[in-house]
């Protein structure tokens, strides 16, 4: 598996949000989260564009700055990785219509909730099928998300990287770019 850079994407008051950069040699290359929001936020389809904006607002303002990456927001576990938005219990959803923000919410963004104050965003796409694996736009990203998460989790377990003051740092060199 190719390497990637784990880079800070948004430093919120309650949560530091990271994304990954696949172009290891180019510091100016966009992260996967930037690519996701650029692609779907600027899309001509208004429903999808607004869905991307809602995800962006929720992640930056409500997770990053107000609440942190509370476990309650991440009950959609897609194997190793997580996915946003939140999916509520079916019974309660029928009453409050809170599933996926709202019925028919079209996007999924893969991520890894490391802790309440550290979140890593990957890429995502449009959910067109019951399962992520069968949705053309996100099936590959789904599998990539599992691989990225495994690698980050292993590095945390092995102690190659650690969480310090709500940030991910290398064990030896705090200021070093984190390439995994």
């Amino acid at each position: 598996m190719s390497t990637f850079v784990l880079e800070k994407w948004h430093k919120g008051a309650r949560c530091t949000i990271y994304s990954i950069r696949l172009d290891v040699d180019n510091d100016d290359a966009l992260s996967e989260a930037d690519k996701f929001f650029e692609k779907y936020g600027e899309i001509r389809n208004e429903d999808i564009g607004n869905a991307a904006k809602l995800l962006l607002q929720f992640i930056v303002a409500d997770i990053g700055d107000v609440h942190g990456a509370r476990l309650e927001f991440f009950n959609r576990f897609e194997r190793e990785a997580n996915a946003l938005p939140y999916k509520s219990d079916k019974a309660i959803n029928e009453i409050l219509d809170l599933d996926n923000f709202y019925s028919g919410f079209p996007l999924r963004l893969y991520c890894y909730r490391v802790s309440e104050d550290v979140l890593v965003l990957y890429n995502g796409g449009i959910k067109t099928s019951q399962t992520a694996q069968n949705s053309d736009d996100i099936s590959l990203k789904f599998y990539d998300a599992q691989k990225y998460t495994s690698k980050i989790r292993e590095a945390l377990i092995e102690g190659t990287i650690l969480i310090k003051n709500s940030e991910i740092v290398f064990f030896k060199e705090i200021d070093e770019e984190i390439v995994l």
Partner: protein, 145 residues
């Protein structure tokens, strides 16, 4: 983030989306918090609510099933407050004044407009229990122990 496009999206975020996101986050936390405090499962809560329709639905009077999305849109469009939810911090961190001179603790009003059961649970908490969740916890240690 590096993308100027994404930064611009944040700067120009529509107000109804901001409102939706904020209320949604608070709702999710409030629901889970209320379930925890009352020892209810989600299905038990659903059953309870089916027997007693929510205050919002009754207020809007009808069988019309307003979604949160439509409520937020409506609130922005009409410029009036249709739904107000105290943030989790307001529930767990009521303003508590510690007056050491008079050796008493007073609690400011806690405004909670939905989840009546949860409101009663909060109001029935002992001051000591409430103070555990506040930044004043160090101050109250000397009170009433």
């Amino acid at each position: 983030m590096k993308s100027q496009i994404v930064k611009n999206m944040l700067v120009n975020m529509p107000e109804d989306i901001k409102l939706f996101s904020r209320i949604y986050a608070n709702l999710v936390l409030r629901i889970n918090n209320a379930l925890d405090e009352q020892g209810l499962t989600k299905s038990e809560l659903a059953n309870r609510m089916e027997k007693r329709p929510s205050e919002i639905s009754k207020w809007l009077n009808g069988d019309h099933n307003f979604t949160l999305k439509s409520l937020c849109k409506l609130q922005v469009e009409l410029g009036i407050n249709l739904i107000e939810i105290a943030s989790e911090h307001k529930i767990h961190t009521p303003s508590i004044k510690v007056d050491k001179a008079e050796n008493k603790v007073t609690q400011d009003n806690i405004i909670i407009n939905i989840w009546e059961e949860n409101r009663r649970a909060v109001n029935n908490c002992k001051v000591v229990e409430l103070a555990k969740h506040t930044e004043f916890s160090n101050n109250y240690q000397s009170y009433g122990q």
